[in-house]
């Protein structure tokens, strides 16, 4: 827009910075004029497509076979089916499109040109591809339900199954029965007002509906940061269980390079440094032997000696920035459903949102920030021994985190008060540092108001998967004692 003053126009305006460094021609074909600048390199539209499919395949294929194969000389034979987690956002829209082109519709332009039509790579890698969407509108009053929008988009691609879930399924015994086959039900509630997070069993008569349980849980969270973090954990676990249920050995997510950098820094800021590796790629083995086996794994190995099911979570867009994703969606004419803004008031106090704003702002002045973050995080590994998996997020717990916490921030003048009472079960020792912080760390501001119907109980129900370890470990202690009881001397009750 002109300011109308002729003396400041023309030469006196600061020269516009060039968008590219050396040449305006594509660095690949060196003929066409470029259409996009990806961190200093210029690409034309024709060369952009193979570049993205190549990065996508490179991000996925070395992890398809059970044994990681970097050279990719062997055929791709996954142990089970494929589950695609979609959110309706840009990343998962691009992921779905690339995945369908490369592995379902087998678009030849996405494949390397050598090898001919009979080459084994022209066989379908996954027999069944399922798309799962978790609707979270019930956690936030005023949020629109987008299940049908997402379903319509998915239906545009032939050959994909669609599984819609709702976030309150995490509290639904029906869903639990569906994914856990014969598992015994045990549900627990937790008292989030104390550091110990005391547990109590929920009698089936007083059980609330899944929606009430979700609302109780969400409205007990102490900070604005805890809300989206909890939603993410619930969605992740719902997807993992659905993967097992659908016989999938692989779960792919549409996390782009940019979102990965944000989630790494946000994770570090929430004390999840021990799980940086899992944030990039993880392998989850359900702790129950009574989970249904993925069809691919059992049949080939022969019934009883079937391999334990596992789910490998892969983010094949982790080398592709948000800008490239946006351009792919634009050139391919993809329709992005988009994510709903969280309507509640605490969003500005959310570490996840603060991190995203900070990183995208920094990226403007320092264009390599996003890739530097991801590269740096790939050069570190967790230190020390892991002490099992976190009951809430199912990621490895570092040994001794609670001792560390109580030494660094003293909360009581009497050290013995911190010892959890042996008579009541507590959740704290079974949580990772990050999840414990999510449930207990408070801010000076009041807890976020989500506008949910408040619960009148002091304890709130936990997601149903948390129940599995608690009574079992206590029971097994008793069982162990029973097993050795005949060798114990009389009077020895220790």
């Amino acid at each position: 827009m002109s300011c109308g003053n002729p003396t400041v126009e023309g030469e006196s305006i600061m020269p516009r910075r060039k968008k590219y460094d050396k040449t305006r021609y594509c660095v690949r074909c060196k003929e066409a004029e470029g259409n996009i600048v990806i961190r200093h390199a210029v690409y034309c539209k024709d060369c952009f497509s193979p570049l993205i499919t190549h990065k996508f395949r490179k991000g996925l294929e070395p992890s398809i076979n059970r044994k990681p194969d970097l050279s990719r000389r062997t055929a791709l034979k996954p142990d089970g089916n494929l589950l695609v987690g979609v959110s309706g956002g840009l990343g998962s829209t691009v992921l779905l499109d690339l995945l369908h082109r490369c592995y379902v519709s087998m678009d030849e332009s996405t494949m390397p040109s050598d090898g001919g039509r009979q080459h084994p790579r022209h066989e379908r890698v996954w027999k069944k591809v399922t798309v799962c969407y978790v609707e979270m509108c019930d956690a936030f009053p005023g949020m629109r339900d987008r299940t049908s929008d997402v379903e319509r988009r998915v239906a545009q691609y032939a050959g994909l199954d669609f599984v819609p879930l709702r976030i309150q399924d995490a509290f639904d015994p029906e869903w639990c029965r569906k994914v856990h086959a014969s598992r015994k039900e045990s549900s627990f509630s937790v008292d989030m007002t104390t550091e110990e997070l005391r547990l109590s069993a929920i009698a089936s008569s007083s059980a609330s509906t899944p929606l009430q349980a979700l609302h109780g849980y969400m409205s007990s969270l102490p900070t604005a940061t805890a809300v989206p973090t909890t939603v993410q954990t619930l969605v992740r676990l719902l997807l993992l269980h659905t993967a097992v249920q659908s016989g999938s050995s692989h779960l792919v997510l549409g996390t782009s390079l940019t979102s990965l950098a944000v989630s790494l820094i946000s994770g570090i800021s929430q004390g999840r440094g021990y799980n940086l590796k899992e944030e990039v790629q993880e392998e989850w083995v359900p702790d129950d032997s009574d989970e249904p086996c993925p069809p691919g794994s059992g049949s080939k190995q022969g019934g009883a000696r079937a391999r334990k099911p596992y789910v490998r979570v892969i983010r094949p867009l982790r080398d592709i920035g948000r800008k490239e994703c946006a351009l792919w969606a634009w050139w391919r004419g993809l329709n992005v459903v988009g994510k709903e803004q969280q309507p509640w008031s605490g969003a500005k106090q959310d570490i996840g949102i603060l991190t995203r704003e900070f990183i995208t702002g920094l990226e403007k002045d320092y264009p390599s920030t996003v890739s530097a973050i991801v590269r740096t995080c790939s050069k570190v590994e967790p230190k020390g021994r892991a002490g099992g998996l976190c009951a809430l997020c199912a990621r490895p717990i570092q040994d001794g985190v609670q001792e560390w916490k109580s030494r660094i921030s003293i909360r009581s003048r009497d050290g013995s008060q911190r010892e959890p009472s042996p008579t009541s079960a507590t959740l704290t020792p079974r949580l990772c540092y990050g999840c414990h912080t999510t449930l207990t760390s408070r801010s000076s501001r009041p807890a976020p108001s989500l506008g949910l119907p408040s619960s009148d109980r002091s304890t709130v129900p936990l997601p149903l998967w948390v129940g599995s370890g608690v009574p079992r470990s206590r029971l097994s202690e008793q069982q162990m004692k029973d097993a050795v009881s005949e060798f114990l001397l009389e009077g020895d009750t220790s």
């Binding site: 900070t223 604005a224 940061t225 790494l264 820094i265 994770g267 570090i268 800021s269 929430q270 004390g271 999840r272 440094g273 021990y274 940086l276 106090q349 959310d350 570490i351 603060l354 991190t355 900070f358 920094l362 320092y366 920030t369 530097a372 973050i373 590269r375 740096t376 995080c377 050069k379 570190v380 590994e381 967790p382 230190k383 020390g384 570092q398 985190v401 560390w404 030494r407 660094i408 921030s409 003293i410 909360r411 009581s412 003048r413 540092y433 990050g434 912080t437 760390s441 408070r442 801010s443 000076s444």
Partner: protein, 353 residues
Amino acid sequence: MPPRLCALCNEARAILKRPKTGQQICKECFFWVFETEVHNTITEAELFKPGDRVAIGASGGKDSTVLAHVMKTLNERYQYGLELFLLSIDEGITGYRDDSLETVKRNQQQYDMPLKILSYNELYGWTMDAIVSQIGKKNNCTFCGVFRRQALDRGAASLHVDHIVTGHNADDIAETVLMNIMRGDIARLGRCTLICTQGEDTIKRSKPFKYAYEKEIVMYAYFKKLDYFSTECIYSPDAYRGHARVFLKDLEAARPSAIIDIIHSGETFEVKEEVKATQKTQQTCKRCGYMSSNELCKACTLLEGLERGMAAAAVTERARKKLDAEGPAPENLRTIPFYQQAHPPTNAAGLPI
């Protein structure tokens, strides 16, 4: 409504909300909890042995003033048996360091500790004022940071101490963790959460305030009525660090435990072995004998650039090449005196505190 009681002693009236935990506590419990956490940090890391000679890096600012006070208090209360010194570096910044050094001199009287002041001018022949007049305000923090590190070691060597403690607080460390990740500085990322660093030839350096919040340090100084100098450096700070600092303050406002959570994250990972193998090994500078990852240490490179009128030489790769192209350093170039660490009589058999 009755006054709220302290969450720690349940007796006295709570008068403050602890920034680190949000607990409402009384003044006495605040002193107790702040000092005890520092004591825990010291004993858990086994920082000292009885008889150790320890220099406190003192700038006259809040962190080092509180550090001197707390070190003296803990040394007496728990009988660490340490001999404490104050060590100050005079960077030569008129209107800033000259004033803050006055505070350090008062601290020397108040705490009854010997004080040593070493100046950049004495060691390098340059004051920061002179450096800024040659290179401008951009990048001057690079010079100051590199020169200070070496100056502290040299000052400590002349005091025959075997340990320097600095006032780096939890906010500084959390900020450094974030910065090193964003800049991809793997070597520093591995080091920055260590409480104590020691190369083969260098003096031990540690940070007893590693887990102490900046806000609590200010609070401690306020309630103890400590005498400190609170002006920011007049030369512009590192812009990148500034971004990280603003971000960290936002995180702290969103959830106060964020600072300690970031440090915890930093402590839970380490650099992969295969990456470590590609890092440069430590050697000694051929010109001044100080530890270095290249033939010439960073301070000597910076000084050579200043002396030859090409101060950007150690800051950018291009300028370094230009400097090399102009031939070797002249014979009469001003250099830093050769570094030799004095080996003090230590209580080698003593058990850690």
